[in-house]
């Protein structure tokens, strides 16, 4: 996969999420992503960045435009934090499971909204989630 352009941002407060979402939209518009896919990508990113802020106290996001198979462009977003980590990923990916008082749809919902979803987490070290949304995916 070839990275065409990228941007790094830190998410430390709720206001950063607004800036991040706008930046992500710029990237999605740049590759000509349709409105529905744009909204799906932004919503998924919003869920994941909020998780990062809420459970890990913040972290960094990397937005990239990647060129994938069949020469299709897409946006890849990597969320990394140094938070407490997720002890049971399988459980966390289930609908309705939440250690906070939320709906418990953030992680599983985000997975359904994007084309590719990868989660790695080490307890005590942190969590890294990578999502890809293809232009027509």
């Amino acid at each position: 996969m070839i990275v065409l352009s990228s941007d790094n941002m830190r998410i430390l407060k709720e206001l950063d999420m607004v800036v991040f979402r706008n930046r992500l939209k710029e990237f999605a518009v740049k590759i000509g992503m349709g409105l529905v896919n744009q909204t799906k990508l932004i919503t998924a990113a919003s869920e994941l960045s909020r998780n990062m802020l809420r459970y890990a106290g913040g972290g960094t996001v990397l937005i990239e435009i990647v060129n994938g198979p069949q020469r299709q462009n897409g946006v890849r977003v990597t969320f990394s934090d140094n938070g407490p980590g997720i002890p049971n990923i399988e459980q966390a990916m289930k609908d309705g499971f939440s250690t906070g008082k939320s709906l418990g749809l953030g992680l599983p919902g985000a997975k359904r909204l994007v084309s590719d979803f990868d989660i790695k987490s080490t307890v005590g070290k942190g969590t890294t989630i990578t999502i890809i949304k293809w232009k027509n995916g």
Binding site: E14, V18, R21, L35, V36, Q38, T39, K40, I42, T43, S46, E47, R50, D95, S102, L103, L105, G106, P108, G109, A110, R112, L113
Partner: protein, 284 residues
């Protein structure tokens, strides 16, 4: 003989001020529209006064000296007030840096026989003004940030109006991101308005909300529940096609809530609930 720069400058205070004012007045970035020349003179005089008073051989060498705090304070005051008045960073910077020219030319007149010492003292003065310049910029930006924060607050205040659409129907258009603090304001305003107007139907229009994620949905569900507890029915309108698809994929269940695509159809639904009819008048 060792010359004392601080003393020299104190002695020539009047000329320094005159020269500085002259420098400022000829500069093309002078903003007579923002501040009158008299005000500018007062401001300049205040700064020169406090600067020369606190200046001594020691703090000319050590820029961190606590004795310079008084100068910093005056400078910060000027800088913040300029930021709020709408000065550009360049204009604010020039205010301080033009003082350097005045100080240096006075210094050159006084120590004209000893080039080595002149260079030495000029460098010191130069460094001092530079550090004052940095402080000016720091506070200038802080001042600007305060302006932005105040505006953010104002936007939150004005962006959640409750509109009385009809007898017993209130509507609230939400524009912008719905975060926790915003939801609180929305809910409070809406519930209060329901009480004040004794309305039985509330319409929450989310056409202006850019993204609906699970937290926003949760906030909406809570608002609807609270409205129902007050004995009113809550309709959510302005669900755009892309939002509808996203909500379905996220797995959020909004089936217990009356949702409409547009404010018009929400209003029609509200009229139906109140058994009202909107009819075209047929001309006879």
């Amino acid at each position: 003989m060792k010359l004392d720069t601080a003393k020299i400058l104190q002695k020539r205070k009047k000329q320094i001020l005159e020269l500085w004012m002259k420098n400022q007045l000829v500069d093309f970035s002078l903003r007579e529209d923002l501040m009158s020349n008299d005000e500018l003179t007062v401001q300049s005089e205040e700064l020169v006064d406090v600067l020369l008073q606190t200046l001594s051989g020691n703090n000319l060498e050590d820029l961190q000296a606590s004795s310079l705090e008084a100068v910093h304070e005056v400078l910060e005051g000027i800088s913040i007030s300029r930021a709020k008045q709408g000065y550009s960073p360049r204009e604010t910077g020039m205010f301080v840096f033009s003082l350097k020219d005045a100080l240096l030319s006075i210094l050159a007149q006084e120590i004209k026989n000893d080039p080595v010492q002149l260079l030495d003292e000029s460098l010191k003065v130069s460094k001092l003004i530079d550090s004052l310049g940095i402080i000016t910029f720091e506070t200038f930006i802080k001042g600007r940030e305060e302006v932005i924060l105040r505006q953010t607050d104002e936007i939150t205040e004005i962006s959640t109006p409750v509109i009385r659409v009809w007898d017993g129907i209130v509507a609230m258009p939400i524009i912008g991101t719905l975060d926790s603090s915003r939801t609180q304001v929305v809910m409070e305003n809406l519930l209060q308005e329901i009480v004040d107007t004794s309305s039985s139907i509330a319409i929450l229009d989310i056409s202006g909300v850019p993204a609906v994620d699970s937290l926003v949905a949760q906030h909406l569900i809570k608002t609807v529940s609270a409205t129902r507890l007050m004995g009113a029915e809550c309709i959510i309108s302005g669900i755009r096609p892309e939002i509808a698809q996203t909500v379905v994929h996220l797995g959020i269940d909004l089936s217990g809530i009356v949702t409409k695509a547009s404010l018009a159809s929400a209003l029609r639904h509200a009229y139906a609930l109140l058994q009202l009819e909107v009819k075209k008048v047929v001309a006879k």
